[in-house]
Amino acid sequence: MTRQRDDAHAQGVSTTISRASQAGPKVSATDISVFYGDKQALFDVSLDMPDRAVTALIGPSGCGKSTFLRCINRMNDTIPGARVEGRIILDEEDINDRGVDPVLLRARVGMVFQKPNPFPKSIFENVAYGPRIHGFASTKSELADIVESSLKRAGLWAEVADRLQAPGTSLSGGQQQRLVIARAIAVSPEVILMDEPCSALDPIATAKIEELIDDLRSQYCIVIVTHSMAQAARVSQRTAFFHMGTVVEAGATDEIFTNPRDTRTQDYITGRFG
C-alpha cells in the first residue's frame, strides 16, 4: 500500500509534465546519452511525450534537440560512430532492445525533415512508397485509396488530384513538405517526428503546415523540433527546453512560456540568448 502510494507520489513529483495527458506517455525516454565518436551530444535526457498531443523541443543550435529526435526512430543508427545509451519506451517496449528491428520501428515512427525531400518519383509514387515496401496494399485500388486518403489528411489532395503523375519535385516548397508528411502518414505511424519542418518555408506555407499539425494532433503523437518560439507556442501542448545536451525544463507549453522555472529557459524564450 505504502509503496504504491510512494510510487504514485514519486511519479507526480518527477513529472509534473505528464499531468496533461491522463493516458500516460506514448513515448518515454529515460537517461538517454548519445555519443558521436568521443564527443557526447546528449547527457542523461529523460522526457515523456504523450499521445494525441504535440511536444515541442526548443533550444539553441547544437543543444541536442535533433539528436534526441533521431533517437526516437533510431535514425542515429545510420550515422557511423554514433552510440545511444538509455531507454526509450514506446508502448511498453524498449525500442533499443536487441530484438527490435529498426526498419520496422521506423514504420511506426514516421519522420519529416527540415528540408522537403520528395523522392525523384511522381507524387503518387512518393506517397505509395511506404505502403509498397511494407505491403500494406494488395491491389492497385487499395493502394490508390491509401494515397488519396493520405494526401487528403495532409491537405494536399485538392492541389494535386489532377496531376498525381507529375514529379514530386515539381511542387512548391510548402507543397513538397506536405507531400512528405502525406508520405509519412501513408504507413499509418503512431508517432510522427518533425525536425524543423518549416524552417525552409515561407510564412504562408508555414501557416498551412502548422494548421496541418494541429489537425494531425487528434490521431498521432507528434514531436516537433523548432527554432521558432512562436511556433512552439502555437502548435504544441507540451514543450521541452534543451540546453547543452540536457533537458533544462519540460512541461505544459502554457506554463513554460508564461512561468518558466529556470532562468536559462526564461532567458531563451525572452530572446536574451540563443
Binding site: 526498419v103 521506423r106 514516421g110 525533415f113 525523384p120 511506404g130
Partner: protein, 480 residues
C-alpha cells in the same frame, strides 16, 4: 644557340627593368606606397613586360621558324643539278644543308660529284644566310627591348594605373595558352579530315561505310588501285562493337555494384583501403593488361573451351564439340573480358561520385519510412543516380571503343563480320595501328584508309562523349 643566350640576356634585362621601374615609382612617391595607384611591384612588372615580351616573341618565332626561313632563302636560286632531282630528294638535300649549318638531324645521304659541289656551294650560302638571320634577329630583339623599355619608362608615375595594365598582359598570356590548345585540336581534326578526304577520293565513302570486306593488302601492289570492296569497314566496326559489348558486360555490373558497395555499405576504413586499390587498377598501363590477356587469360579460356569441346565430341553435339576444339588463344571474348576489367575502376569511380552526389536527405527520407538499405538503393538512390550512371557508362563505352593495346594482343588481326565471341576479330583502332606501323608511303589508299577509320572513330566517340557529358551535366544541375 645564340638566340637562346639572347633570351637569357633578355630575362636579365627585364629583371633589371623590374627593379628600376619599382625604384622609380617609389622615388616619385617619396617612399610611401599609400599615394601610389598600384603596388610598386606592378610598376616594375609593367616596365619589365614591355622590355621583355615583344623581343621574346620575336626570338621565339625565329627559333621556331628559322630553319624554314633559311631553307626558303636557299631555294631562291637552285643549282641546275639539284632541280633535276625528284622533289622528295630535293627536300632531303635542302634539309641536309640547313641541318649541317644549324646542327640539326642530317640524313645519311652521301653527296659527291656535281651534287657534292652544289652541296658545298649551298653550304657556304647557307652559313651566310644563317649568320645574317641570327645577326638581324639579335639586332631587332635588342631594338625591340630598348624600344619597349623606352615606351614604358616615362609613363611611370605615382598616379599611373599600372595594375589593370599588368592584368591585361596576364589575361593575354592565358588567352594565348588556350589558343594554342584549341589550335592544336583544330589542326589535328583538320589533318584528319583532309587526309580522309583524300582517301574518300580513292574509295567511295559509301563503300567504306557499308562494305562488308576489309582487305587493305590488295592496294599495296603499285599497279593496282583499290579494288572494290577491299575497304569495307563494317567488319571492323562489328569487331569493335562486339568487344565493346563484352567489355561493358563485365565492367558495367561489376563497376556499378562496386560503386554501390563503396558509397552505401562500406565503412570509412574499408573505403579508405578499397577505393585506392581499385584506382590502382586504373593506373596499370593498358599494354600490361594486353599481355595479361594474351599470355594468361587467352590460354585459360582456350583450355576451358577445348575441354568442353572434348567432352561433347561423339555426342549429340558433336559439331559444337568440333568447333570448340578449334578455339584459339586469341578471341573477342578474351580481349573483351580483360578490357572490361580495365574499365571497372573507371566505371566504379565515376559512379561512386555520382551516387555520393545523391543528397543524404533522400537516403534519410527513405530509411525513415522504414525501408531497408537495399530497398533505399534500388528504389530511391539508383533512380536518382541513373542519368549520371548512364553518362558514366557512355564514357566507359567511348574508352572501350578507342582502346587499342589489349585488342591488338588478344583478339587477333583478322577482319571478320561476326558476333561470335569465340572468333578472332579485329577493331578499328587495331587496324589503324597495323596500317601505319613500319615504313609506309602516305599516298596509297592503304595508309590513307587509316585516316578514314580515325575520322569515323573520332566522330563516334565525340558524339558519345557529348551525349554522356550532357547527361551527367543535366543530372548535376538537378541537385546543386
Amino acid at each position: 644557340m645564340l638566340i637562346w643566350i639572347a633570351l637569357i640576356g633578355l630575362v636579365l634585362f627585364s629583371l633589371t627593368a623590374y627593379s628600376a621601374g619599382r625604384r622609380k615609382v617609389l622615388r616619385a612617391s617619396g617612399g610611401s606606397t599609400r599615394v601610389l595607384h598600384s603596388l610598386p611591384g606592378y610598376y616594375g612588372a609593367y616596365v619589365a613586360l614591355w622590355a621583355a615580351a615583344p623581343a621574346a616573341i620575336l626570338l621565339i618565332l625565329v627559333s621556331m621558324l628559322g630553319a624554314q626561313i633559311e631553307e626558303a632563302a636557299l631555294r631562291a636560286d637552285p643549282p641546275a643539278v639539284v632541280t633535276q632531282l625528284p622533289d622528295s630528294t630535293q627536300d632531303v638535300f635542302y634539309n641536309d644543308v640547313v641541318a649541317t649549318v644549324t646542327g640539326g638531324q642530317v640524313s645519311q645521304t652521301v653527296y659527291d660529284g656535281a651534287i657534292g659541289e652544289a652541296f658545298g656551294a649551298k653550304l657556304v650560302q647557307a652559313r651566310d644566310i644563317h649568320r645574317n638571320l641570327v645577326a638581324a634577329t639579335l639586332a631587332a630583339a635588342l631594338a625591340l627591348a630598348l624600344a619597349g623599355a623606352a615606351f614604358a619608362w616615362p609613363k611611370i608615375s605615382a598616379s599611373f594605373a599600372a595594375r589593370p595594365r599588368v592584368e591585361r598582359w596576364i589575361a593575354a598570356l592565358f588567352l594565348v595558352c588556350s589558343i594554342v590548345a584549341v589550335l592544336t585540336t583544330v589542326g589535328i581534326v583538320a589533318s584528319l579530315v583532309w587526309e580522309s578526304w583524300r582517301f574518300f577520293q580513292a574509295v567511295p565513302i559509301f563503300e567504306f561505310l557499308f562494305g562488308l570486306t576489309w582487305d587493305p593488302q590488295i592496294a599495296i601492289r603499285a599497279d593496282q588501285v583499290a579494288s572494290s570492296g577491299a575497304f569495307g569497314a563494317v567488319p571492323l566496326f562489328m569487331g569493335t562493337f562486339l568487344i565493346m559489348m563484352i567489355a561493358m558486360t563485365v565492367a558495367a555490373p561489376v563497376g556499378l555494384f562496386a560503386a554501390i558497395y563503396l558509397s552505401e555499405y562500406a565503412g570509412r576504413t574499408t573505403r579508405a583501403v578499397v577505393k585506392p586499390l581499385l584506382e590502382v587498377l586504373a593506373g596499370i598501363p593498358t599494354v600490361v593488361y594486353g599481355f595479361f590477356a594474351a599470355l594468361t587469360v587467352g590460354p585459360l579460356f582456350r583450355g576451358f573451351f577445348n575441354g568442353i569441346g572434348a567432352q561433347l565430341l561423339g555426342g549429340p553435339f558433336d559439331g559444337v564439340g568440333l568447333y570448340l576444339m578449334q578455339v584459339q588463344n586469341q578471341m573477342a571474348l578474351v580481349a573483351g573480358a580483360v578490357m572490361g576489367i580495365m574499365l571497372i575502376p573507371f566505371v566504379s569511380s565515376l559512379s561512386d561520385d555520382i551516387i555520393n552526389a545523391v543528397p543524404q536527405s533522400l537516403r534519410d527520407g527513405s530509411l525513415a519510412m522504414g525501408a531497408t538499405r537495399s530497398e533505399t538503393i534500388t528504389r530511391v538512390i539508383m533512380p536518382a543516380a541513373l542519368p549520371g550512371v548512364m553518362g558514366a557508362l557512355l564514357l566507359a563505352i567511348s574508352r572501350a571503343v578507342g582502346e587499342t593495346m589489349i585488342v591488338t594482343m588478344a583478339a587477333g588481326l583478322q577482319a571478320r563480320a561476326t558476333f561470335n565471341p569465340l572468333d578472332t576479330v579485329t577493331t578499328v583502332t587495331v587496324q589503324i595501328v597495323t596500317l601505319l606501323t613500319g615504313d609506309q608511303e602516305f599516298d596509297s589508299p592503304k595508309t590513307l584508309s587509316a585516316f578514314g577509320l580515325g575520322l569515323t572513330l573520332f566522330v563516334i566517340t565525340l558524339v558519345l562523349n557529348i551525349v554522356a557529358l550532357q547527361i551527367v551535366q543535366r543530372y548535376r544541375e538537378q541537385y546543386d
